[in-house]
Symmetry: C2
Subunit: 201 residues, 2 copies
């Protein structure tokens, strides 16, 4: 593409590095920036720079945080006997939005994925072991994606933590609420039959 | 959504101002920024700020430009007897990519759209009239979208330029190359029959 201007070309190249954003979408974004006032573009640029350079991670759970410890770890209202292991920040937000969990988190920062060069050492697993050895917790919920990588990581964690007197559980898998049986994939449907639960009457 | 960090919240709010980008996509972008090195985020932030504050527009055709006049207007290889009127920069790029047009452009900066508060005075129409009165051109191609707004603007321009000795044409409308008749909409198909062309044998 011929962008007529090196500034536009540079902005399109930078914006098209975002996941799911191609050159055409990036150009739409640049045209949006050009239609806005420069103050708005500077606000956006500052927000991007600040989030990249000033962001802190909670020293305990590795969630993003404005201070040394995050709001969840420092809260007096949370149950510190239950720790939920998740892949990243989005999962913390997704679980928080359910309002069904009142414990603490531990953010791994990814899942074991040899293809992408991510082994256990790249993840926050050692700090989880140290954390569980130092503090007595009753239960660890492993809430990772139902993918081969997620399952591998769950298996690795369960082995790594086998020496600790802690109940390890995983989130339940099955047919989604509101989901129709005929549209569920075979593996999910099969697993939902194998791991059936007594009907509460 | 609870973003755990005010920096993330601000970045998500700013990024979700882009057209077609919601809070979830913006959050994906922020997580992408967090996975990158800070240098890359600073490059992106600089590109956004630069494109907004440093961009220049060609004084002749209103296309974006690195200097006072754009590369197309200053080129000796272009035919300055034909001027193509387009809505914005994207249309210039789209037509340039066809390699079928060798004339100059005039970028209106939009189309007449009373609903969005855009009247003729908000567009680069006066400068087009002045330009055509000052320079002798043989033909003006109006290449606007086939929407009610585009058609209105084409009609307005044709009236506004009626006093000038210039051939005014519009780009042809019809079935797209490679398009199947049965999938074409009725209006396009009807128009393609009304404006049929002699078959070149």
């Amino acid at each position: 593409m011929n962008f007529s201007s090196s500034l536009i070309e540079e902005a399109v190249n930078q914006l098209s590095k975002f996941p799911g954003v191609g050159k055409k979408s990036a150009l739409r974004m640049v045209l949006h920036i050009l239609k806005q006032k420069p103050e708005d573009a500077i606000k956006l640029a500052n927000a991007i720079e600040m989030v990249s350079t000033q962001i802190k991670y909670c020293k305990k759970c590795h969630n993003v945080s404005d201070g040394d410890l995050c709001a969840i770890c420092t809260s007096q209202k949370r149950n510190n006997q239950i720790i939920c292991v998740v892949e990243d920040l989005r999962d913390v937000m997704a679980i928080e939005n359910t309002s069904q969990f009142n414990g603490l988190y531990h953010v791994l920062g990814g899942v074991i994925s040899p293809i992408n060069g991510i082994g256990p050492d790249e993840l926050n697993i050692d700090s989880l072991v140290i954390r569980l050895e130092a503090e007595v917790s009753a239960e660890l919920i492993i809430a990772l994606s139902a993918t081969p990588e997620g399952d591998t990581t769950t298996f690795y964690l369960s082995k790594k933590l086998a020496h600790l007197p802690i109940q390890i559980s995983t989130i339940s898998r099955g047919i989604a609420i509101g989901g129709e049986l005929e549209y569920a994939d075979e593996i999910t449907l099969g697993r939902s039959i194998v791991s059936r639960v007594p009907y509460a009457r």
